[in-house]
């Protein structure tokens, strides 16, 4: 599907302020292209802000101010000269609440390609089909492509959002608590899907579900109060965390 290699993610001394308030402080980390990075930490620790920096959705908050450097492959994400639209095409995002547009299943997936000027009906159809297959949703929605997206279950809508993101051939996928609103079965399907796509895309997954981080990620980063406390290969992190704070969090001594 994706011919471009998944880019490395390099973050150097990233800080984000909302006015006076510090959301992220001096974060430095690095993961290889194609890996799955899981971000864990208590609510309000800056995980979501980190995600929104990577596709510059953080720009929507007028008071947000970012310093430091973020590289996705060769792209300098925070450079004011960077083409945000091109960046966002390369960096897909899936939100916590299923955010399927109030259109048909087909129009949801075709939304991205149409933005880029794809008009041909047959081209759109094949793009929609391949994206839905990639998102493991095709078998459930074939023949129902004209139905409203809202008629799908929550889990299906979330996979639809993944298909929608895949349809513009991104290189990076940002997942902001993609299973927070789903039942265990739908959650399992999303996790299977992430594992199936591993290697083709660089993933950054924010999750409140520690088992989920342990199950799907290659690298885990633990954030607290805007600081990166620890980052390590997932297996090491969950068996032998280096920092006391990480251990306290993983064993549930504070939330």
């Amino acid at each position: 599907m994706n011919t471009k290699p998944a880019p490395d993610l390099v973050v150097q001394n990233l800080s984000v302020h909302y006015g006076e308030q510090v959301a992220l402080k001096d974060v430095t980390l690095q993961i290889e292209g194609g890996q799955i990075l899981a971000l864990i930490g208590p609510s309000g620790c800056g995980k979501s802000t980190f995600l929104r920096v990577l596709n510059r959705l953080v720009d929507r908050s007028a008071e947000a101010h970012c310093t430091g450097e973020v590289f996705l492959g060769d792209t300098r994400v925070l450079d004011p000269k960077t083409d945000v639209v091109a960046l966002r095409r390369a960096v897909g995002m899936v939100f916590q609440q299923p955010s399927a547009f109030p259109f048909s299943v087909f129009d949801n997936v075709a939304y991205g390609p149409r933005l880029q000027g794809v008009r041909s009906a047959s081209r759109l159809r094949s793009l929609v089909e391949s994206s839905l297959k990639q998102a493991a949703l095709w078998d459930e929605v074939r023949g129902k492509l004209r139905r409203p997206a809202a008629s799908l279950s929550g889990g299906q809508q979330q996979r639809l959002c993944i298909a929608r993101a895949l349809a513009v051939s991104p290189e990076v996928l940002l997942l902001d608590e993609p299973t927070a609103a789903l039942d265990p079965l739908s959650t399992a399907k999303i996790e299977e899907l992430i594992l199936a796509l591993r290697g083709d895309y660089t993933f950054v997954l924010v999750t409140h579900n520690l088992q989920q981080a342990a199950r799907v990620s290659d690298v885990t980063a633990f954030f607290r109060q805007g600081r990166l406390i620890e980052i390590a290969p997932t297996r090491d992190m969950f068996t032998a965390p280096k920092c006391e704070e990480t251990e306290e969090f993983l064993t549930g001594r504070y939330e």
């Binding site: 959705l57 929507r60 966002r88 095409r89 955010s99 547009f101 939304y111 933005l115 959002c161």
Partner: protein, 286 residues
């Protein structure tokens, strides 16, 4: 239930019940009286000379209502054609503002909504009519003047409703669109406006209702000519203004008095159609 109520509760219950019941009776009574008058009128004069007639000379027994229906439609049409693009532009601009500024705009618009229609009429008389007189060389009292005055009059309501429609679009949808690489303009056109098309249609219907029913502001600038209008700068009349004009000309008892009932019934039917349309639109909204 009722048996458990105390004396005070029962008393209150009756008062409320009487209030609700009299409202229903009042509604039916208005409709019945208009219908009765219309029936009497149609039996006496026929439909051809009234509903479908072009010439209105009540003293000669000719009651053609087409000029007024045309006048109402043209005037409301001008008002919508001018007001909708302006309101939409305002709404599109406001949506990208910070919440505090949006609130300021809302407050200003709410203030404008409260202006009595006679003030708009007076403004039309002192500004719009002379302007049209100066440009066209005609008297200035015209369908165009009435349409423009109505456009300005419905603009605050229409803008307010349009802003509400656009700001109700969910943040996740907007961010989902941006995250797919849509420019702000593409997000506006393909998502926000597409999602709010039915609420926007609803706003237009409400505005059309207000325009169609307005009397005083229109009467002050339209010129009151009872012939079928030839052009936008020629004077004319609407169903509402003609009722106002002929109230004194055709008092009860005079032959043709019931043509007023007929005109009122036509207006009522148009407004009712609008309400039905509104309900349908609401049901189609996502």
């Amino acid at each position: 239930m009722k048996r458990q109520m105390g004396m005070g509760d029962q008393c209150l219950y009756r008062v409320v019940w009487v209030g609700a019941f009299s409202l229903v009776v009042l509604g039916i009574a208005i409709f019945a009286i208009l219908f009765w008058g219309t029936a009497k009128f149609v039996l006496a004069h026929g439909l051809n000379q009234s509903l479908l007639g072009l010439i209105y000379e009540p003293t000669q027994g000719r009651f053609g209502l087409l000029p007024f229906m045309a006048g109402s439609l043209v005037v409301s049409g001008i008002a919508l054609a001018v007001a909708i693009p302006l309101a939409l532009s305002l709404a599109v601009t406001v949506v990208d503002m910070t919440p505090r500024r949006t609130e300021t705009v809302r407050q200003i618009l709410s203030g404008l909504v409260a202006i009595p229609s006679v003030v708009f009429g007076w403004w039309g008389l002192s500004v719009v009519v002379p302007a049209i007189r100066w440009i066209s060389g005609h008297s200035g009292f015209s369908l165009l003047a009435a349409g423009l005055v109505l456009a300005v009059m419905i603009l605050p309501t229409l803008s307010l409703l349009s802003i509400n429609a656009l700001t109700r679009v969910r943040v996740q949808w907007v961010e989902g669109s941006l995250a797919l690489g849509a420019t702000p303009d593409q997000t506006m056109g393909r998502l926000i406006l597409a999602v709010s098309r039915f609420p926007l249609l609803e706003a237009s219907i409400i505005a059309l209702g207000r325009a169609l029913g307005e009397t005083m502001a229109v009467q002050m600038v339209i010129g009151g000519r009872v012939l079928l209008p030839h052009g936008l700068v020629s004077p004319g009349a609407t169903l509402t203004t003609q009722i106002l004009t002929d109230m004194s000309l055709l008092p009860p008892g005079v032959s043709g008095h019931h043509v007023l009932d007929f005109m009122a019934l036509l207006l009522l039917a148009a407004m009712y159609g609008m309400v039905v349309l509104l309900e349908r639109t609401r049901r189609m909204s996502p």
